[in-house]
Assembly symmetry: C2
Homo-oligomer: 653 residues x 2
């Protein structure tokens, strides 16, 4: 045990000096209760593990990154919406279907808001949901394998920003359009925006056992911009809250034209009421084209299906289902406290923070105290739903998270600070500057009924001089705070990969024991797997050639192939026969117009190669796998298109 | 200043207790001379900077990653050989030509060995060179902008592993083929390997001012596998050394068949002699097709040229140019000490480490003490060139680096350890276990005449339980050692991105002051740039539409575009008008079949969009740029193919 001077009164120090210096088990500092310096608090000694997983949105990387807290080390980048040359995601035949959409193959998206599945309002660690903002999609990532298992496109939407957040028991994962568009799409002048453009909110049900997603219904809302959302919980379970901006319905120069109204709205949606409505036959089926892509871990392959219909709900036809809560001004984050009593509207052009009361909202609804309507949707009165405001919190509030001890933590972009305040009294307790221009904040479980209020991570939008310079393009930056005490303590700056918009944290003890190590060969149902050595072979079907190949330390079977011709389309179906943890093999073919394959133990992957030139061309293993890794190679002989060289293959001959 | 108990004798501690506790300037630990715990040694407090840059090869990511030492934080991923959805590299029109090859567009490669440019054998920090292993290429990255400026394909090669290392004054960057192939390629049975397959070594000259690369000559060597290489320096300047394996010339099951010979070779190449030979008209011009891709920072665009010829040198025609040094067994790393006196052959299936003497080699050559030849290339006698061996160093030596204080650090893959030994006495000084199965080791400047021997980073191939588990696929792992003392001290485990094969480190003070912050708008010579507001416009040429767009906080000009038709090919040429550091903007178009554009201040980028559906479709800025970032959006109206809607564009109307 290492103790530092600052942390101890002299008597304790003397006692340690004469009795305790040599009973150390950890020579490299200490992260326990007595760790006192920031250095010690964030240091995870070699061989020890972080306390929390933190899943950071990659933003424009399209991927999800996995970090450890408190160390700030990145353990993995999980490809979701973007091609990932590193392991062939989006290049291999098995994974290409994951990126299919109604617009065809889309190799990129802008991944924003991760949310971990919940049971009874608590993180259950089964799946994590993320949204694609650009070509609207929701993805589900399995937290046993850390792989993207499912992607569903969201029709009638554009700029899928206010997602992907789950209800208290993961009944639904919810999405909302940021850009309103004609629904259905049509050839109409942009200047006809007002009244003609609509904003769809989408409720995607999640199968309790499998996690499988199904777009249950959409709500056709006015043509505002829907920014963020959060579920009700506890007493507000059954409701979902969405911030709106551009209630001005401007279609150009929004930085001016969408900043005119003193108040925009939080839309409160009683989804249980809508569920009841559609279960009784409510809603209208409308044509809509959207992709549903599902990855199957037994076939190690994804399939894409195009769906053709969606159930649309007109909120004005469902009394009591949707209400608008006036909220200053251009609110961005829409956050619900762990008790479900308060809805915080973070008015991004405001100095004050608005806290709505769920109880007052219900009372106002029951009393029918409305202040007009917007396209038929009742507007409540600001003062009737307001619980109170945090005054002088800062400037430009964006997002709020909670520590489970009655405190809220709000980021202020313009004044660049993280502000801690008491949810009930709304008094400011502490404020810490952020370097620079903070966007989201994350506390593990901070968007649930049961946060783990030990650390807060501020995700900053501007980096400038925080790290060694790397030319004009910089990574974004996160700051880790210890929030276990009354005052926040800045511990660490660490760079993030892509542009994090929100993150989701969870204690390691929930996920780590469930983490899968290999795929069992005996469970491999891939159509083209070569499971036994005798199944390795090469087959020609016209100009399609299928190579059934296996790999094990340190050779491919077969490793010499002849009889391939220019103009052939060669499918290398390769099965990794290893059954030990952390023994992947890679496969690369010179001149291939895609990427490598990185193949996990027990898995099968397929690379297509269309040889354009006569010659003898090598392939090799890309992942250093043994002392004889450099010997793990092979050759393919490519003959002219009209050659009569017979197909042959061998190993060791 | 924070001091810990362990570091101080009691008297000193008492003195501090009563006099020194309050004179602290850094509340968060201390990295200075008195930092005593590993935690403090690796901790870089918020706002402070790391001491070294470390450039890690991304291996199968195809990219180069930039870390700080001692913190182990990743600051950037520089796209080189792979498409990078994060910023549109390989998707934007300006960057696609960077990935062109004689095989067409290749969106991936396997990036292995970074090497920083040198002057007088010392790191000069101008450029860093890296190799693509799969479809043989060398790239040059500018260390002012941290962008890939140039990629040259290497013809007559396959598995470009033994590169990219530079000579003492960056006269050349050198490459060597790992897989021998027919040269030129031809339709020949793989079984005809022996004698018919050849291994090309490539010398690419580097223009002293611009860094521009030109393939000066290739040497047609026997059909071995060329594994790694390093330049001579000091007295051995003018020579280059390449390890070989598979001198058995096996073509199948190499893990067995290429491990038969007791000794393979290190090939010593006197490139100055060959330079003289070709300057006198030596060598044979042979047809060869290879791409040369150059990025121009004034046009912000890359151009690809296909070259058609290479100068080939037959080493048997140049007396005194190439010799073979027998080296046990299947040597992998080929490392030259800072003085240039010793060449270390790391026989990967050996227990001992072989150190050849440059002086003894020269003497043996001058005495013509040869032991036969291989395809006409003289073989020297092992005992004539041997300086000595490190006995019981470990098992499976792979790579060696140097600290500039007379010590070498060798990794042993099989026994999984880093071993420090004295270069002159060859005595082992210290050994530290690695977790697990170490490949390369890097000391900043460790491959130069003047290493900075403060830290060593071991890059490990197996990760297993070093971090929180993330399913079957794991990141690789690095370990940071303090090597400033007699014994090495393990400081930190940190994960790496992709699979690092080697790294190159350099003191921050060399690079940081030169780092570029923005691109000046006035220097922007992009053909389609809209530099003034009045240059923004939309032009139709048949079904090609060119949008000349600008972006500045927080709007696009124009942001409403009409008159686009289904079937059009729309080129968005977008210029970022910001001139402040760290204010990039992004551009994303719903349904685009490529990626986003991330555009630095002063830069122009082009995205192609081929709208397939009638409707009104949004675009937006993907990089949170201001309090009104969410308002930075626009719409494009897409009409049917036969529509007569006139082209129009506007902002704020």
């Amino acid at each position: 045990m290492k103790l530092t001077i600052k942390s101890l009164p002299i008597f304790a120090l003397m006692a340690v000096m004469f009795s305790g210096c040599n009973n150390s088990k950890s020579p490299n500092g200490n992260r326990g209760a007595l760790a006192s310096t920031a250095a010690e608090k964030v240091y995870v000694p070699p061989g020890e593990h972080d306390e929390f997983y933190a899943f950071f949105s990659g933003g424009y990387s399209g991927n999800l990154t996995v970090y450890g807290l408190p160390s700030g080390r990145m353990f993995k980048e999980i490809p979701v919406f973007s091609q990932f040359p590193t392991n062939g995601y989006g290049y291999s035949e098995e994974t290409k279907p994951m990126l299919n959409t109604s617009h065809g193959f889309i190799p990129w998206d802008d991944l924003h808001h991760p949310d971990i599945s919940q049971t009874d309002g608590k993180l259950d660690g089964r799946w994590i949901f993320v949204n694609g903002n650009n070509t609207p999609r929701i993805a589900r990532i399995d937290l046993k394998t850390f792989e993207t298992d499912e992607i569903i496109e969201v029709p009638n939407s554009a700029g899928n920003h206010s997602s992907s957040f789950v209800t208290e028991n993961t009944e639904y994962v919810v999405a909302g359009t940021r850009f309103s568009v004609p629904v259905p799409q049509k050839d109409i002048s942009i200047k006809e925006y007002r009244g003609n453009f609509k904003g769809a909110l989408s409720f995607i049900e999640v199968a309790p056992e499998t996690g499988r997603m199904n777009l249950k219904f959409q709500i056709m809302m006015p043509g505002f911009d829907y920014d963020l959302s959060h579920p009700g919980r506890g007493k507000s379970h059954g409701w979902f809250f969405f911030t709106t901006y551009n209630t001005e319905e401007a279609n150009t120069l929004l930085e001016v034209n969408a900043s005119q109204n003193d108040k925009d709205f939080i839309a409160a949606v009683n989804w249980k009421k809508i569920e009841e409505y559609i279960n009784n036959g409510g809603g209208t089926k409308m044509p809509a084209e959207y992709a549903h892509n599902v990855y199957d871990h037994s076939t190690h392959s994804a399939k894409s299906t195009i769906k053709k219909e969606v159930l649309m709900v007109d909120p004005t036809k469902v009394p009591g289902a949707v209400f608008l809560l006036p909220t200053p001004k251009s609110p961005h984050g829409c956050d619900v406290d762990p008790t479900g009593k308060y809805i915080i509207g973070n008015g991004k052009l405001s100095a004050d923070l608005t806290i709505h009361s769920f109880g007052k909202m219900i009372a106002a609804i029951e009393a029918e105290k409305f202040d007009g309507d917007a396209y038929g949707i009742p507007i409540l009165k600001f003062e009737d739903v307001l619980a109170g405001q945090v005054k002088s919190g800062g400037l430009g509030p964006l997002h709020t998270e909670f520590d489970g001890k009655g405190n809220a933590y709000t980021t202020f972009f313009i004044s660049s600070e993280l502000v801690k305040w008491n949810v009930e009294t709304r008094e400011v307790i502490d404020r810490q500057p952020n370097y620079y221009s903070v966007g989201h904040v994350m506390i593990p479980g901070g968007n649930s009924a049961a946060p783990f209020g030990k650390y807060a991570v501020a995700m900053n939008k501007i980096t400038k001089d925080r790290y060694l310079p790397t030319g004009p393009e910089l990574e974004h930056s996160a700051q880790l705070f210890d929030i276990s005490g009354e005052k926040m303590e800045l511990l660490l700056d660490f760079p993030t990969h892509g542009e994090p918009h929100y993150a989701a944290g969870i204690p390691a003890e929930i996920l780590a024991p469930e983490s899968q190590k290999i795929y069992r060969l005996e469970d491999n149902k891939h159509e083209f797997a070569a499971l036994g050595g005798d199944e390795t072979r090469v087959e020609r079907h016209g100009n399609e050639v299928h190579v059934y190949m296996s790999m094990i330390r340190s050779h491919f079977t077969p490793d010499n192939i002849e009889g391939i011709r220019v103009g052939d389309k060669v499918y290398f179906h390769i099965t990794n026969h290893e059954q030990d943890f952390d023994v992947p093999h890679g496969f690369a073919m010179i001149g291939a117009n895609n990427a490598e394959l990185l193949i996990m133990p027990g898995q099968t992957r397929t690379l297509v190669w269309e040889p354009g030139q006569v010659g003898v061309w090598p392939f090799y293993c890309t992942d250093f796998c043994s002392a004889l890794h450099q010997e793990m190679q092979g050759y393919v002989r490519v003959s002219p298109a009209n050659s009569d060289i017979k197909l042959s293959w061998s190993l060791g001959e």
